[in-house]
């Protein structure tokens, strides 16, 4: 923990020195960014915009994870489904994020549904691919065991399948989370009247670097907090059977 803190402080120091030497409106120092951030928080502006963005991240993340896991499971289990759906997956995985966003806004309209769906569809193929790999590596012996003992469908999913998929789902939800918030910002920049992406867009047109830096840093800090306080403890919990000595 201490080396990490030191490295972070060093980064801020480099930034401060650079800002002090350049003395430009285009590179504000850490102190002025900190002051700006505090006043944005006090006015309620920053929490509101972050909440808008976070809600979109969570909604699109949830949709992509649920649909992607189900589709990936079906494709991993059945050769027929896989053969049929694989070309679709390849098309989807190679569509640029921007194209999907434009399609969504044009076909669905400049609204929340389009924004969230666009991000979810961007993430979907990745979730499918990883889940499918996980499903292909499921232990056939445990499968036989659960069938022989006539385990119920739900018991089988919960106690036999999901624990085996957990590492795959954890990996993909991490990458999902970090990539989907980046795409959410683009979606907001193009077609939403609020959210961090919208604020960054308007700050960009005013060349307001202080605002851009304070929003960007705040959002990174928030995602970091989610990662350490939510994702990592969850992962430790699902892996606790591994940690015991054999």
């Amino acid at each position: 923990m201490l080396p990490r803190l030191f490295s972070l402080l060093a980064l801020i120091a480099v930034w401060a020195i650079a800002a002090a030497t350049v003395q430009s409106r285009l590179l504000p120092g850490p102190f002025s960014v900190g002051v700006a951030t505090l006043s944005e928080i006090r006015s309620g502006e920053l929490p509101f915009q972050m909440a808008c963005t976070l809600a979109r991240v969570i909604a699109s993340f949830a949709i992509a994870m649920v649909l992607g896991t189900v589709a990936g499971y079906a494709m991993g289990r059945s050769k027929k489904v896989d053969r049929f759906a694989d070309p679709w997956l390849i098309v989807l995985i190679n569509l640029p994020a921007l194209v999907i966003i434009i399609f969504a806004y044009i076909w669905i309209g400049l609204n929340e549904t389009a924004a969230i769906l666009a991000v979810a569809i961007n993430k979907l193929p990745n979730v499918i691919v990883v889940t499918r790999e996980g499903v292909r590596s499921l232990d056939a012996g445990l499968d036989d065991m659960s069938r022989a003992f006539r385990m119920k469908w739900l018991t089988r999913i919960r106690h036999v399948v999901l624990p085996q998929l957990a590492p795959y789902l954890a990996a993909v939800s991490r990458s999902s989370l970090s990539i989907s918030w980046k795409i959410v910002l683009v979606v907001e920049l193009i077609g939403r009247p609020n959210g961090v992406g919208f604020v960054l867009g308007s700050a960009f047109s005013l060349f307001d670097m202080t605002k851009i830096l304070s929003y960007a840093i705040s959002f990174v800090a928030l995602m970091l907090a989610i990662e350490t306080l939510l994702v990592q403890p969850l992962e430790r919990r699902t892996n606790r059977w591994r940690r015991r000595p054999a």
Binding site: L142, A148, F149, H159, W241, A246
Partner: protein
């Protein structure tokens, strides 16, 4: 391709496998079983004995209903199946107690199984994860799981293999006790004639691939806890029978 029937009560086990083939990795088809006909009376304890790799596990999987891709017919005694696979096949992410509880029917509870858990000596291991157990203990958990469902039909696939003789001997006795406690039809698959003679009342000797039954013998009851002398006598009697290549 094959008919499957389940008797509501306790019928005999009838397994007829006309043919079972596998397609190997290089595309050739390999015949594993041909013309096997097995019948075991309700409540009986049968043992299939055959050389390693003769297809015993395949036959057992078919008997368990896990492999429907064969030509023939299968009729099993009763609805509830208990099975002990060659590897313990426990869920490594669940404790011993949960591994057993998960196969129980709804409303089943471990409290009703105190006897079973005590017989197998698992009482102090219920909170452990399978990764913390020795192979012998893991086998015991697998055996406990199979008996926990109160099976009408019990399948045992080499349950004593790769255990040291003392552990295997004790486990054999425990299985003998448990199969006597409730009426069930049991089929044991083994390459070890001694396992079979100690536990079973009917022996089926298998040929090499493609497997079929070359001879079968009934042993006189009582089967449980046959003494060492009795086992040796039976083994001696068996050695005079023309068993082909199947007797070990």
């Amino acid at each position: 391709m094959n008919d499957e029937q389940t008797d509501g009560g306790a019928g005999p086990l009838e397994l007829r496998i006309d043919a079972k083939t596998f397609v190997s990795a290089d595309g050739a088809s390999v015949e594993i079983v041909r013309g096997l006909n097995l019948r075991l009376e309700a409540g009986g304890f049968g043992a299939m004995i055959g050389p390693s790799g003769c297809g015993k596990t395949t036959i057992l999987h078919i008997a368990a209903g896990l492999d429907a891709d064969f030509a023939g017919q299968r009729r099993v005694p009763g609805a509830r199946l208990g099975i002990v696979f060659q590897e313990p096949r426990l869920l490594p992410w669940r404790t011993v107690a949960e591994n057993i509880r998960l196969v129980l029917p709804a409303h089943g509870s471990l409290d009703d199984l105190a006897d079973l858990i005590e017989t197998l000596g698992l009482g102090s291991h219920l909170a452990h994860y399978p990764g913390e157990l020795s192979l012998g203990l893991a086998r015991r958990v697998a055996i406990a799981r199979a008996f926990a469902v109160r099976p009408d039909f019990l399948l045992l696939d080499e349950p004593f293999v790769s255990l040291d003789e003392a552990v295997a001997g004790r486990l054999r006795e425990e299985v003998a006790v448990l199969t006597e406690r409730h009426r069930m039809t049991t089929l044991l698959v083994t390459h070890d004639l001694r396992d079979a003679v100690q536990l079973a009342d009917r022996l089926f000797f298998l040929s090499a691939r493609p497997a079929s039954i070359v001879s079968e013998t009934s042993l006189p009851p009582p089967r449980r806890m046959r003494s060492k002398q009795a086992i040796d006598r039976i083994l001696e009697d068996l050695s005079t029978l023309p068993l082909g290549q199947s007797a070990t």
